[in-house]
Amino acid sequence: MTAEAGPRKKILVVDDEPDVCLYLSRLFQENGYAAACAGDGLEAMPAVERDKPDLITLDLSMPNKSGVRFYREIKSRPDLKDIPVVFVTGVTGPGGSSADTERFYSTRSQVPPPDGFIAKPIDPAEVLGVVGKLLRRSP
């Protein structure tokens, strides 16, 4: 399955869990995208500036809240703010804490809402659906 003709769209996966990074990037590669990984917000910023990805998936519940900080920075920079960002929210189901997401919402007034959500555990079809839709829409 290939996304579209032309150059492959680039996706940056930001997650502190290396295996999730691997999983998502391999899933994207397998479905016709180019994918790269970053372990946290600090690592992600130079990668965004260098590679100008077409989409970013971001795990918010990373140490130091670097995910939130990274998102703010992206959305406040005119040259980067149009890159769609999909939140990969840690846990939303029973037994988990969505504290990070809630904390994010509480400060949301300063930043635009994310372009999409993916809940863990990851459902490949859902991930590809959300990402595919966003990438078809973007120029």
Partner: protein, 485 residues
């Protein structure tokens, strides 16, 4: 009646009526009798005759008490003796044998020469009052018994918050001495509490309730539910406030345990989900490799699976460790040796992260009596955390360092692990030792410090933390050199 009741005046006998004011006596609403020196009744008023019968010339002790000889303590005799009035409490029996509680007052009757010729005895019937007194006493006793046996702390507070009355239970747990200030006694405060249900009850005359934490006389913390109610005098004025406090400490503890059990289950689910994610990823990647005969994918996938299986087993071991009650062995452990081994273990990792890791070890440390594995895992945990705190620090200017200091303080070994990393805010510090609480996202299990604390507790020691956000943290562990008590 054939014989005249009264000897005629002037007949050489005593004219009693002249001495006492005649028929006036009959109208007095109490018993009055007049006795001579031999306790013979010379005169009785109408009420006495009605209730006790006609007994002129009979001995008062026979008439009133059914006795055959004078009473041992007789106010009539005493008045004859000293010419003074006397008062005593007696029980006398009327014609139908019913007892009357009376207060007796005697006074001398003198002839014109001043000689005491008779004694007037006045009986005030206080049977009803006595009865009331008994009942009052009974109900007071019952009230006091209730007060004491009720399974709550009962205390009565005056307007100045002094405890003026308290039940046995209160006295046993808080203070035997009455009159102290409630806020001093069980709140360990120097001044009244800002929100006070006793003050509220004084202010509005209604009942109030509150949940409070108080300290008993052994310094233990108790959770109590407190009810207060105003105590009013006969005019309806609030004089005191009564407080009833029920100890709900155990219930609170159970509630906390249930809540932490809930968090525990949630934490387990969360951690397992993370591992599961890694496993799914591994399976996905490995499957791609099998499909495409791609050795690299197969290898990556299997590595992912391997990693997460390892994580899961480590997690389960930690969880089992936390769940198990056990007492550690008491083997000689050289703290300097273990510390050096841990520093060695982390040397490569700290160097990679640009963190300077050092140890300061006192040379006067005798061997510790402890479980060697536990001490190793304790120090590794603390050092690992300290390195993480440096690694995640955003401050580029800082030169990160972790210092492990091992020393002796009296009969305790002191292990301090200090870093100048991110530090913690109040909230994080509060949750530190909570299971599955982690600031490290997916890379932490939220069990490290729980295990550390368990090790410390099992060895009879203490663990504390001092931390300033942005400046770093210091964990201090104190272990008794002789091992757990």
């Amino acid at each position: 009646m054939a014989e005249p009741r009264w000897p005629e005046p002037g007949a050489g006998t005593l004219d009693v009526r002249a001495l006492t004011g005649g028929r006036l006596l009959d109208d007095v609403p109490c018993y009055i009798s007049i006795q001579d020196r031999h306790f013979r009744i010379l005169e009785a008023n109408r009420k006495l005759v009605e209730d006790f019968g006609e007994h002129l010339s009979e001995r008062c002790y026979a008439v009133f008490k059914g006795r055959v000889e004078p009473c041992p303590e007789c106010p009539v005799a005493r008045t004859f003796q000293d010419g003074q009035e006397h008062t005593s409490g007696e029980t006398i029996f009327d014609r139908s044998g019913l007892p009357h509680a009376v207060i007796v007052k005697t006074s001398p009757l003198r002839d014109p020469s001043g000689e005491i010729v008779a004694v007037m005895e006045l009986f005030a019937d206080i049977t009803v009052q006595k009865e009331l007194e008994h009942r009052l006493h009974d109900s007071l006793t019952r009230f006091h018994n209730l007060f004491d046996v009720v399974p709550c702390y009962v205390s009565v507070h005056d307007r100045d918050f002094r405890i003026v009355e308290a039940n046995q239970r209160f006295k046993e747990s808080f203070s035997r001495r009455l009159g102290g200030f409630c806020y001093e006694i069980y709140k360990h405060r120097k001044e009244p509490c800002p929100a006070c249900p006793v003050a509220d009850a004084f202010a509005d005359g209604h009942s109030h309730s509150d949940e409070q934490v108080v300290f008993d006389n052994a310094g233990r913390q108790l959770h109590v539910v407190v009810y207060t109610a105003p105590v009013r005098d006969a005019r309806g004025q609030i004089t005191d406030v009564m407080q009833v406090a029920a100890d709900i400490t155990e219930m609170r503890t159970l509630q906390d345990q249930l809540a932490s059990l809930g968090r525990l289950v949630g934490g387990i689910a969360h951690s397992i989900k993370n591992v599961l994610e890694g496993l799914r990823g591994g399976v996905y990647v490995a499957n791609l490799g099998f499909r495409d005969q791609n050795q690299a994918d197969i290898q990556t996938g299997w590595e992912m699976i391997q990693r997460n299986v390892d994580r899961l087993s480590a997690m389960i071991l930690d969880m089992l460790y936390c769940a198990k009650q056990r007492s550690p062995r008491r083997l000689p452990v050289s703290l300097p040796e273990v510390t050096r081994a841990v520093v060695q273990l982390f040397a490569a990792r700290s160097a990679d992260a640009g963190v300077q890791l050092a140890a300061e070890i006192a040379d006067n440390l005798p061997d510790l009596l402890a479980e060697p594995r536990d001490i190793h895992s304790l120090i590794s945990n603390l050092v690992g955390n300290a390195l993480d705190a440096c690694y995640t620090d955003q401050d580029e200017q800082k030169s990160s360092r972790v210092l492990v200091r091992v020393s002796r303080q009296d009969e305790q070994a002191v292990i301090e692990v200090a870093d100048n990393g991110t530090g913690m805010d109040e909230e994080t510090r509060g949750k530190l030792f909570t299971m599955f609480f982690s600031t490290k996202g997916a890379s932490g299990t939220g069990l490290g410090l729980v295990v550390a604390r368990k090790v410390v507790t099992e060895h009879g020691g203490t663990i504390s933390v001092d931390s300033t956000p942005g400046q770093g943290s210091t964990f201090t562990v104190k272990l008794p050199l002789g091992g757990p008590a």
